[in-house]
């Protein structure tokens, strides 16, 4: 049995109350669906003094569609998104991404906001305390859970590198990036919007001295909603994993007329660069080759990184072929 650490639970009922608490408790963890945070707390990766349970905030729930586009509240569950007829018509690629997350039971609990802010994952980090201690000896303190951050400084992924390459594993994010989605962030100071693409820093760790942190949002901000402009064409989502359920991705590929985004290869999603402006008349082999040459997966997953790199070419080709079919292109 993995016990949860001791903490004080705060349950705000309105957004202003939640923002005041967030500002007063900058080290608190925000709990929404809990599908990522609670397992990590059980594994001893986080031991917060305070937990801010925001599931009661009605302002953060629901989907609205109008002439400006789509607004999905951060606490909207992935199941609600899957069942929404408007989303199925407007953004089927995003609905497919929601459907590919874990399992239907977990989709009932998991929220869109939680998926955007999902922690990065590494096979040496997302393990029980017992497992990590066995590997790292006495140095694997529960304070960080990361063998590289602890005093021994052992990293089995990038032994010589300074950075953390834990994999960004949020299924909905590559598709949201291609849709030009924006995150609405609120704090006691006000509200701002940030492109989903700009949420993520270059390091997989939360506290990364002298590198950009994992999430580029301020300590007092709460993710309130995701805004998606009315899409002009289809988006394709592809996920590589060992089993058809439960597993986190070992490679994500999203493609639309706007371009191709890869994820789960490093700490943040990456756009494939140096390709044509539009994927509608793209040379599929050339784009797949460009994606392959820009992908540098490390051994963050149990499956071989060389195989994951090869799968980038395969999956980009498949995604573009699927996109061409959706666009009525006979290729």
């Amino acid at each position: 049995m993995l016990p949860l650490p001791d903490f004080d639970l705060h349950r705000p009922q309105t957004l202003p109350e939640a923002l005041r608490l967030r500002a007063a408790l900058p080290k608190a963890r925000i709990l929404a669906g809990g599908t990522d945070l609670i397992p990590s707390m059980k594994q001893g990766l986080f031991t917060p003094q305070d937990v801010l349970h925001i599931a009661g905030l009605a302002e953060l729930k629901g989907i609205t569609v109008n002439a400006d586009g789509i607004r999905v509240g951060a606490l909207t569950s992935l199941t609600e998104m899957r069942r929404d007829a408007r989303l199925a018509t407007l953004v089927p690629g995003l609905v497919a991404a929601c459907k590919s997350v874990a399992t239907p039971t977990l989709q009932n609990m998991a929220t869109l906001g939680g998926n955007l802010l999902l922690d990065t994952r590494c096979r040496f980090y997302n393990q029980s305390q017992f497992w990590r201690e066995a590997l790292g000896g006495a140095n694997a303190k529960p304070a960080t859970g990361c063998l590289k951050c602890d005093s021994a400084g052992i990293c089995h992924i990038a032994p010589k590198g300074k950075g953390c390459y834990a994999a960004h594993s949020a299924d909905t994010v590559p598709t949201l990036i291609l849709l030009g989605a924006q995150a609405e962030l609120a704090s006691v100071r006000g509200t701002r919007r940030l492109a989903v693409e700009a949420l993520y820093g270059e390091d997989g760790r939360e506290a990364a001295p002298d590198r950009s942190p994992r999430l580029l949002i301020a300590g007092d901000e709460v993710l309130v909603a995701v805004h998606i402009p009315t899409p002009t064409g289809p988006t394709v989502h592809r996920k590589v994993r060992a089993r058809a359920a439960i597993d986190y991705p070992m490679l994500l590929v999203a493609a639309s007329a706007e371009g191709v985004v890869l994820s789960s290869l490093g700490p943040r999603p990456q756009r494939v660069t140096g390709i044509q402006d539009s994927m509608l008349d793209a040379d599929i082999d050339a784009v797949a080759q460009a994606a392959f040459s820009q992908a540098f997966p490390l051994a963050t997953h149990v499956w071989a990184s060389t195989w994951r790199k090869k799968m980038v070419r395969v999956e980009v080709r498949r995604a573009l072929a699927e996109l061409a079919t959706l666009n009525g292109d006979p290729r």
């Binding site: 049995m1 993995l2 016990p3 949860l4 650490p5 001791d6 903490f7 004080d8 639970l9 349950r11 709990l31 809990g34 599908t35 609670i38 397992p39 059980k42 594994q43 937990v51 349970h53 599931a55 199941t79 399992t103 239907p104 039971t105 977990l106 009932n108 609990m109 089993r243 058809a244 359920a245 439960i246």
Partner: protein, 171 residues
């Protein structure tokens, strides 16, 4: 220790008021505090589905849910599924021998009951998709799937799909 909090919810139709620690998981609350041991302790980190309960109808993993978060909600555990007679899903599981060690069975019965409430006549793919929520290491899922399909046929007034004989003596 953080101060205990009062939790009010309905469990299998009965109102409950209990004092709990803020870090009590719903699974520990059900099993240790209330003695409802039908929900099982499996992986403890939200992978396996053995701890599935229904919160306001939706299947949820109780091992990664805080007991405090079900305040004012309605819970159903496997103990609250059957009336005086087993449900059709339970009856089909029995006839198809769809449980071996039985550890995953409560969770699987709950996700199937929820599926049938939501969709009267789900496709085989839809059944297989929700079964992906629950890990079974004994049966290989064949008998679970055949029991679920039999339940679907019978609840829609179609002829039963009896279990395939497993042993030579049954042939």
């Amino acid at each position: 220790m953080a101060d205990p909090i009062i939790l009010r919810c309905r469990l299998n139709g009965t109102p409950k008021t209990e004092l709990i620690a803020p870090n009590r998981s719903l699974l520990d609350f059900l099993r240790e505090d209330l003695g409802y041991t039908g929900s099982k302790h499996g992986c403890d980190v939200g992978d396996c589905g053995a701890c599935t309960v229904r919160i306001d109808g939706a299947p949820t993993l109780s091992c990664i849910t805080l007991a405090a978060s079900v305040e004012g909600k309605s819970l159903q555990t496997i103990e609250g599924v059957a009336g005086s007679e087993p449900t059709l899903v339970q009856q089909c599981f029995h006839e198809h021998v769809a449980a071996q060690c039985g550890y995953c069975t409560p969770g699987i019965v709950l996700v199937l009951e929820a599926l049938f409430e939501e969709q009267a006549d789900p496709s085989e793919e839809a059944i297989a998709e929700v079964l992906g929520s629950n890990i079974c290491r004994c049966t290989g899922y064949t008998k679970i799937l055949s029991a679920a399909i039999d339940a679907r046929e019978r609840r829609n007034g179609r002829p039963a799909k009896p279990p395939t004989p497993t042993f030579a003596r049954d042939l």
